[in-house]
Amino acid sequence: CTSIIAEAPNGTLYHARNLDFGLFLGWDTENDKWALTEKLRPLIINVDYQSGGKTVARAVHFTGYIGVLTGVKPGVLTLSMNERFQLDGGYVGFIKWLLGDHSGKWMGFFLRETLVSSASYEAAKSSIMTEELLAPAYFILGGNSSGQGCVITRSRETMDNLEELKKTESGWFILQTNYDNWKTPPFFDDRRTPATKCMNKMTKEKAGLAGIYNVLSTKPVMNLLTTYTALMQVNSGYLETYIRDCPQPCFPW
């Protein structure tokens, strides 16, 4: 996955992400595609959460999966989650939960609660930083005001790192893939370098959903695992999602 929050010169925040999934979960030899990824694409749907006839949140779902991985709460926050690989991974939390320790929260359900219930960026940030989870992850959180954006790197029980939008090298965008952002990404899966290059090339002056979509469409930021690209703008509560299918030749991940 690749998630980006960018701030335009007028302070408007944009949040977008590629959701990549299905690595090593079967290969379709006929079409040269990841088998599970291919099956997930037709299930993608934007969900408008309504209560009392009013929208309280919008999120992108795979039909049948009721947790949230990408979403916007109009006027309040935007949120996306990227998978984090750790030896002490989700299967450890899952086994602990099966053995009766229910203190940790399920990832998709936790994000849905955070999205629908959080009253502010700061409240969501605090919750993501401190809640015990069943699996590690990277949380990319955007607020509704200039400078409000961060990447929270989580282990199951603790927060490992907090990177703030204001303190990044560029000062106007923050970008997260599937590797710890304070370490060099592995040579065999470096989407951070091309994405950063393309963001810098776009410049802050041209920051917007169209420009970020172009960055997320550049190989290998987009790759054979990419299922969708979602574009969000917090103040308007805007959510736009497109199914992606990386044309060959394309990176496998």
Binding site: I45, G64, G93, W106, P194, N214, T218, P220, T241, Y242
Partner: protein, 118 residues
């Protein structure tokens, strides 16, 4: 197949994408009972949902006996639905009924992120 390092220049022409790739919107009414919230969508997408779950089962079947695996998932994972925090267990039950998919398979799909890290 291109090999790293990346070989494509930064795209500037991808937006706007083709309209056929735009994802539709479904309204989830939180005022409905959890079992009814996803019913219409689950019914509509049942064939695609079944195909995706079958893909996971095929994968499991490549390493263990597939009949035993399905029996295990259908029985043991279904039991988890009642232990999950509200309203999620009931929402999954509603999806399983509407799409005519065993509850255990719907639960497996919903806890896949945690298990997948294995």
């Amino acid at each position: 197949q291109d090999v790293p390092p990346f070989t494509e220049d930064c795209r500037t022409d991808a937006y706007p994408p083709n309209e056929k790739d735009r994802v539709k919107t479904f309204v989830l009414n939180l005022d409905l009972p959890p079992k009814e919230r996803w019913s219409n969508l689950a019914k509509e997408k049942a064939p695609e949902l079944k195909a995706m779950i079958q893909s996971i089962i095929d994968l499991v079947g490549s390493v263990v006996n597939v009949t035993e695996a399905i029996a295990f998932i259908d029985k043991e994972f279904a039991l988890l639905a009642d232990q999950l925090p509200a309203p999620y267990g009931d929402e999954m039950k509603g999806i399983a009924t509407a799409a005519d998919i065993p509850l255990g398979q719907v639960v497996l799909y919903n806890v896949f992120y945690e298990i997948f890290t294995l």
